[in-house]
Symmetry: C2
Subunit: 639 residues, 2 copies
């Protein structure tokens, strides 16, 4: 056995390097590890940006209540914050238990079985895809409402951002962290500043601050408050929690000590998110800010109204809005970090095509990125960049995954036992219960508004993944071989060589034929045009002199010449039928069909050749019974 290390690829295409960075070797993997400072933008963007649309989604449901509705935002937000706290403690434990990455898929699969794992996997896949579409379109939607002149180009902006994200992520995760650090911290800084300034003004003015810019009055009340409306507002507001599972999915990306760094990142993200949600809810109430009906002329988002009311429409307003827009658009990046990893994990278990496990030149799982970008581009194009309606959908996937993950952790502790396992079980059990109830609430509350799509799509994905798995298992069953090779009954194949004229190409193919077997059969389709004298290279006229005699002289059995007359001018069919007949009549031997092939130096020269060789190969393999082997004998044209 010889062991060799493949050398560094000598020449890299420079355009690829420019776009995606130079190729990285597997050993450079360690350098790609990150700490909390980079981890917060990479894994927190999705969770943090939810603060920009979660409260707004809840307030939009409360619009029919008019000015009275604004009061309910505080209890709803507090409920969500409590839920967030429960989920936080639950995921802290997951990080410690699964330092190699404890996504809902892995946790559910290893603790609740394959079916639960697939359910979690399907829910998460949908969730990630929707998150890309919704994040980008929400960002562009905000941009467009701030600068209405850009509105006609909504879709173009969406696709441009998607393209940039795709390229950045194909470069690999470390650069992604650096690219997204500035806007994320700017977003957190601006919103925090806004909240602190708002609280200060509230204190100074005895709880009733004067807005810097007049706040538009909420419309008149058109409904009275009811439990169902509050539940629906809560369900919409739950979109503020999407994305908090990202850290536990990607623990292995952190540098040593892994668990500590990951936990610090999770703690920071959740703490900031809680403060943002609480602050926004409080200020909405004291300033009396209600949501504006989406899609109406003069629409202003809740955060835009809030920033204008606290700080006026000055420099700070525009910096804040820019940060919100950027972060909303880039929140899609969380999916780009995690979707390919999820697909890889599922593919390694044989439930998705093998392609998802192949790492590209920059150590990223490129096919996952391609699929995510492609499906997101389809969704964006189909909805022309306006995906309001998709927002409720993805909360379902996220909460379903939360629940399965935490239920899995309960089983994990139950199995592992040991000191503290009862407490841990309790923490995760509480999390599972809370998120499970929320899942049911969201599905029921949002069923007619789109949750039914998720409820249909998830089983569809599971069926697909199961079919893939069955197929791979079938292949392994059919090809598995737990015994030594049987090599003592090898019979040379029957070689079939279709030839039209005598040439160097024919000679090379004949020489190759004799390395395979002494049993060579040349098939010749007789040209149908009568009256033409045979050409100097006509096979029949030179057969004896050029083929038979030299073969016998070299000690081989002379090849057999079979001339086929084809009244239908068909070339492929007679060869095919003859080969299949040979295969049938010789049940113990392989039939090797040698097809001479001209290799051109430029692709467009292939237009000058009929594609009979390819067609013949496809037909032989489609109709063969298992003992036909097609060999293309290449002839390299020099010029």
């Amino acid at each position: 056995m010889i062991e060799k290390t493949a050398p560094v690829p000598a020449k890299q295409k420079s355009i690829l390097n420019l776009l995606f960075g130079r190729a990285l070797s597997s050993e450079e993997d360690a350098k790609e590890k990150i700490g909390p400072a980079a981890g917060i933008p990479v894994f927190g963007l999705d969770a943090l940006s939810s603060a920009a649309y979660g409260p707004e989604a809840a307030l939009t449901i409360l619009i029919p209540l008019g000015v009275a509705g604004v009061a309910y935002i505080l209890p709803i937000s507090l409920t969500i914050i409590v839920l967030l706290g429960i989920v936080y403690f639950s995921y802290r434990q997951t990080i410690a238990a699964y330092p190699n990455g404890g996504g809902s898929y892995i946790v559910s699969k290893s603790n609740l079985g394959e079916r639960a794992g697939l359910l979690a996997g399907a829910a998460l896949m949908l969730d990630y895809i929707l998150n890309v579409a919704v994040g980008i379109s929400a960002g562009v939607g905000a941009l467009v409402s701030a600068v209405p002149a850009l509105q006609p180009h909504t879709l173009e902006f969406c696709l441009a951002i998607l393209f940039v994200l795709t390229v950045v992520n194909l470069r690999g995760v470390r650069e992604a962290g650096l690219v997204f650090m500035v806007p994320t911290y700017l977003f957190v800084g601006c919103l925090s500043g806004l909240i602190v300034a708002g609280l200060f003004k509230t204190l100074v003015h005895g709880g009733h601050p004067l807005p810097a810019v007049p706040v538009s009055r909420p419309g008149p009340a058109m409904a009275t408050v009811g439990a169902w409306l509050i539940v629906k507002a809560f369900s919409s507001g739950c979109t503020a929690m999407t994305g908090v599972e990202a850290v536990s999915n990607g623990v292995q990306v952190f540098r040593e000590p892994v668990v500590k760094h990951a936990r610090a990142t999770l703690t920071t993200i959740i703490a900031i998110l809680m403060l943002l949600l609480a602050g926004i809810a409080h200020l909405c109430r004291v300033y009396g800010i209600a949501a504006a009906p989406p899609g109406q002329p003069g629409y202003q988002s809740v955060l835009s109204q809030l920033a204008a009311a606290v700080a006026g429409r000055g420099f700070f307003y525009f910096v804040t809005m820019s940060a919100i827009l950027t972060v909303l658009a880039l929140s899609a990046n969380t999916s780009f970090a995690d979707f390919p990893r999820l697909c890889r994990a599922i593919a390694e278990d044989g439930y998705l095509p093998d392609l998802f496990t192949i790492r590209g030149r920059r150590l990223t799982f490129s096919y996952g990125i391609y699929v995510l970008a492609f499906v997101a581009a389809l969704l964006l194009t189909a909805f022309r960049g306006v995906t309001d309606r998709l927002i409720p959908l993805f909360a379902v996937g996220a909460f379903m995954a939360f629940t399965l993950s935490q239920a899995g952790m309960v089983m994990h502790w139950r199995r592992s036992g040991g000191p503290g396992s009862r407490t841990s079980m309790l923490v995760n059990g509480l999390g599972a219960l809370a998120t499970g109830v929320t899942t049911c609430v969201v599905i029921v509350a949002k069923f007619t508004e789109g949750a039914w799509i998720t409820v249909l799509a998830i089983p569809g994905l599971i069926l697909l993944m199961s079919a893939v798995h069955r197929h791979y298992q079938m292949i392994v069953r059919e090809t598995d071989c737990r015994r030594p090779a049987q090599l003592n009954d090898i019979v040379p194949p029957i070689v079939v060589l279709p030839l039209q004229r005598w040439s160097k190409v024919a000679e090379k193919a004949l020489r190759f034929a004799y390395t395979l077997s002494h049993d060579v059969l040349v098939l010749h389709i007789a040209p149908e045009e009568e009256g033409n004298a045979p050409a100097h290279d006509d096979l029949r006229s030179v057969w004896e002199e050029y083929v038979e005699k030299p073969a016998v002289k070299a000690g081989f059995t002379a090849p057999q010449l079979v001339v086929l007359h084809s009244p239908y001018r068909l070339v492929i069919t007679p060869i095919l039928q003859h080969v299949l007949e040979l295969e049938r009549k010789n049940p113990s031997r392989l039939v090797s069909v040698l097809v001479p092939e001209l290799l051109e130096r430029k692709w467009y020269y292939y237009l000058l050749h009929n594609q009979r060789a390819t067609a013949l190969k496809v037909m032989l393999y489609a109709k063969g019974k298992g003992r036909v082997v097609v060999v293309n004998v290449p002839w390299y044209l020099r010029s």
Copy 2:
């Protein structure tokens, strides 16, 4: 040598039969021969339909002269009729001299040399393509001006007609003759009736008949008559002559006696065309009918005005218009009959791809039909079904081909000598002179209006055909072999077998490897993920037991195992480099790369496999130096 006749294909796809008719054997060719009754529609449609736009094209140029311009249509038409007579006698001789088909290409090539033949071929190819686009769009244009409500669907009608023509012609020429017989004879009958009725009324009313429907007055004169304007009107009117060469191109389609049938067909077509042109010109003058500016609201074609003036807008008017519309659209069929034959003739001389010589299941040269239909569809789509501007273009090609063909006939008679050859030479010489002068006149008069495109496109096509020819010659030079096969120095190849796991697929490939050579080398890319225990089918762990020992026991040299470590996770590149190195180090041996391949039963299962086998083959052939042969060893999956 064994001779066999391939059996009739057992099962024909019924949908193909329905659309294109059952497959025909070569012997059925004779049954497809036609006589003059079918020959007139097949070869005369293009020529006869020219009567519908030739006079109109000349009258359109005369519009600026106002009512005075109408008087000039008679001398112009008479000049064209004289020219037509000269061309007729010229082509009569071509038919006798070339009973196997004497198209301009063949006549020019065999008498004036390859370059002149290519010039004629290129001119005709463009001409045929333009004729399809112009014929269809003129027909639909006329339909649309008769029933203005259909105008928004112009392009759809054009493409639908093109599709029908394509399908009909793929069925073969005999059916085409039957399909087009009725409209052609209806067209000739209606126009003749119209002319006879018009002449009768003229006689009755002493030369000044009253129009049945008021004729719109020509606009005021905006120019005075000049020689240049008359020359331009003549050049436009010459489009009335396009298509008369069709019979001589297709002589071989007629049944015995071939020459007599072909000549009778040509005589009939030319006589009818002359009568139609003379009658139309005369009636235009007596009724004072001028052309209406094309593309203006309320536009009426000259024939529409004429039919209305003579017969009123009654039943006869609409029958006549329907016949004109149908025949205009179907005139494109002449091109469908001749373009594929022309391409085949050029391809057989090696100036066009081989594909054009392949006869399809209905004995038609299908690829020529495909190319014609495709290019015509492109032209129609690009001009949105309105191809007024293309009409002048195709007169250039037609007259260039006329001239070359007749100049070729002059050389033919000069060479053949014998009684009567001097007279024949004179007839063809006169034809060549007349059409040659006309070609120059048309090019000069129409240069700025589009003839320059033809003048550019024809040399372009010639260059392309020459390039194709050079390439085929190069291939023959490189592969020609006028000596016996060298078979006494055959060395078995080095066999390279890339394997990742031990399986039945691997075993089959190994067995095949040993039929090729005892020199087998297995390449194994070591998986990079550390920490995983090797699987039961990991190649290294079973190598000795499953491969080495059985090989030695069976009397073979044991295969060599080369383990490649690939720090860039690349699989193809290390294999490629290793094989190329082997090829370099063994200059006297072939290197056979065996690639096991799973054959799935359904195409979509291939989505589950990475396409590394295909990529490896492409790379090996692209970078190999001539001694690499890739063999796909197939494993047929049962389910």
